[in-house]
Subunit: 347 residues, 2 copies
DNA sequence: GGATATAATTGGAACGTTCCAAATATGTCA
DNA sequence: TGACATATTTGGAACGTTCCAATTATATCC
């Protein structure tokens, strides 16, 4: 069907110049005469030439491709994170390989290897559960900048961008305490992620600070999903001295908790205070609107991408560790009277 | 930092063979002696060689990269669609550029161009609203296989994979009619997509078939999102002879409709029947569980990817148009007694 | 042992760019 | 006009692989 690709040489020939000149035009070099540039550009348009970035990469040994690996794209927090990255990556003239590891370290290893073979200039990784520093060591050793987001990867020599889970959880619990709650639960998640550990730590410390003893029975583990939230409520109903409010691992769990409450006849926000974490888009429009710790995933994705691009351009590989601030957005699900939209701000 | 990349020549040198032999080993050719193969492989492992697929692509003029462009990754239907594609693409040894067009045709054009420069072997496109056949013409003309999913692109010479929107909508409305409803609304969406048109057509035809006159006042346009669903209910409350049930453009709208109903004191599934479309994961765990037309986005993504890979391998570019079947999953939100999970099946 | 078949290996050109050093054109000055 | 500076253009090597045709090693047969 299509004859062999038109190349820079074809352009050169048709425009009556050398391929070097065409290359110069392609790169927008100021060295080339205005008339020549016009001529070349018009020929390019005529022949429907498409630049072969692969060939250029081969010669230059640096590509305009970044790799992004996300543990769970079906979770809207991560989907939005990815969209944030997409925005700045595209705008900078890069494209991204974007893959979903599905929390499988094996799959993650495979896609990282594959991306590496395909010549990425850098990578953003939101690690699958159970990822170890060793998993990305070869990547790093080869001098490719890596930014780790959302979940920490202790021991890895990389830049990281985490949200301030500890402070956020603390603020949420403080808010529940201020509303008069004393039986406050923590729902969703398992011990295996740093995110869980930090949020739980914030929860514990806030209770302690308020002089409320931590009741381990109120810490209910479950899958970090909507279904997990439903399950957590079911489990909670079995204990005698039940909670009257809960901080949830994330918004998905919080929505599940609302569902679960409703199915046992409790109205979230009235009979029971629910606070989520992440502030995904639906949090605002849900009924009741979800009180949650806002992480702005899209903004976080943007920052991560900016950080990566900076490192790519700098060439140097000094690591940088950023913590994005977080704020409690009070809506209806916690049962507090809504005074204004962003009641509490935290640095 | 890192010295220049180790190449196939370095391997050859260290293993005492020629680069051609190394290349043969890399490709798993049966031509090479078992002992030589072992030797070469061990050297490869020792030197930490990483294959440069870009160089190979340059020589072979066919890559192992596919492009995927999705109109809205933050919509979980599309996120799951993408995950389905990711699964089969990865397993086939390909990587994907995955980009989010955010319903912007400009952005979409840019990323398509960028992916093309980066040498994709094929592309799956879930077009942004307003995309025209002309937008992807150059891609197609260059002989790159394209599969269009979810939304139709009339006039484009491509393979398509659509869900059976018409039949699905019809089945949903029939079900509502069977439950005794006569005032049935259609909520969410605008006239500008084929998906909307088809589902609406199914709605109209089913009503007509049942001898119920279509009341244009019950067709309420709104954004195809959760917030849009809330808005649609608000609008619906203003009319005198209100609907008692509604088919929603998609699950997001349906959730919004449930939210909206609740905030005016109507319990979805009791006072009002709600049916969604798509069957996203949360549909099952929501309260009330959402009756919806199941599209299995992940499965659809897989099929799309399989179709694309088939076309890439075939080389031939005969188009194929598939319609994925769809089935009504009756849960609680429509108010029907749940007899078993998949009450109605449709081919 | 020589001829022939088969197995295994190999050098060099090619893919489409960029980059360098060198060449050529154009302008300026005395 | 010659000397010099500056603006513009250019050929060829290089990037890391694959592929072809050709070569060399090994086995098989009479």
């Amino acid at each position: 069907m299509s004859r062999s690709r038109t190349t820079v040489v074809d352009i050169a020939h048709a425009a009556g110049v050398s391929k070097s000149t065409v290359s110069l035009v392609l790169q927008g070099s100021p060295l080339v005469n205005e008339k020549t540039r016009e001529k070349v550009n018009s020929v390019i348009a005529d022949l429907g030439y498409v630049y072969n970035r692969g060939a250029a990469n081969l010669r230059q040994a640096r590509s305009k491709i970044v790799g992004i690996v996300v543990n769970d794209l079906t979770n809207s927090f991560f989907a939005e994170l990815a969209v944030g990255m997409d925005m700045v990556v595209q705008s900078a003239g890069y494209v991204q390989f974007l893959a979903h590891s599905g929390e499988s370290v094996d799959r993650q290893r495979e896609v990282i290897a594959s991306m590496r073979e395909n010549g990425i200039a850098g990578m953003i990784l939101s690690p699958a559960r159970g990822t170890e520093a060793a998993d990305i060591k070869p990547l790093i050793d080869s001098g490719i900048p890596v930014v780790v987001v959302v979940r920490n990867l202790p021991g890895a020599k990389v830049s990281t961008l985490l949200s301030d889970n500890y402070t956020g959880a603390k603020a949420a619990v403080r808010h529940l305490v201020a509303l008069g709650h004393t039986r406050i639960g923590f729902m969703g998640g398992f011990l295996d992620t740093a995110v869980f550990a930090e949020r739980l730590r914030g929860y514990r410390d806030a209770l302690q600070e308020a002089g409320i003893a931590v009741d381990e029975a109120l810490i209910i583990h479950s899958a970090p999903s909507r279904a997990g939230g439903v399950a957590a409520v079911e489990r909670m109903m079995l204990i005698s001295d039940r909670a009257t409010a809960a901080l949830c691992l994330n918004d998905a769990v919080a929505f599940g908790v609302c569902d679960g409450l409703r199915s046992v006849g409790i109205e979230p926000g009235k009979g029971f205070g629910v606070i989520g974490f992440d502030d995904v888009i639906e949090a605002k429009t849900a009924v009741p609107a979800l009180t949650t710790v806002s992480v702005d995933p899209q903004g976080m994705g943007q920052r991560a991408a900016q950080l990566l691009l900076k490192q790519i351009n700098a060439g140097g590989n000094e690591q940088e560790s950023l913590v994005t601030s977080v704020r409690l957005v009070v809506r209806q699900s916690c049962g507090a009277p809504v005074r204004n939209n962003h009641l509490e701000e935290m640095a």
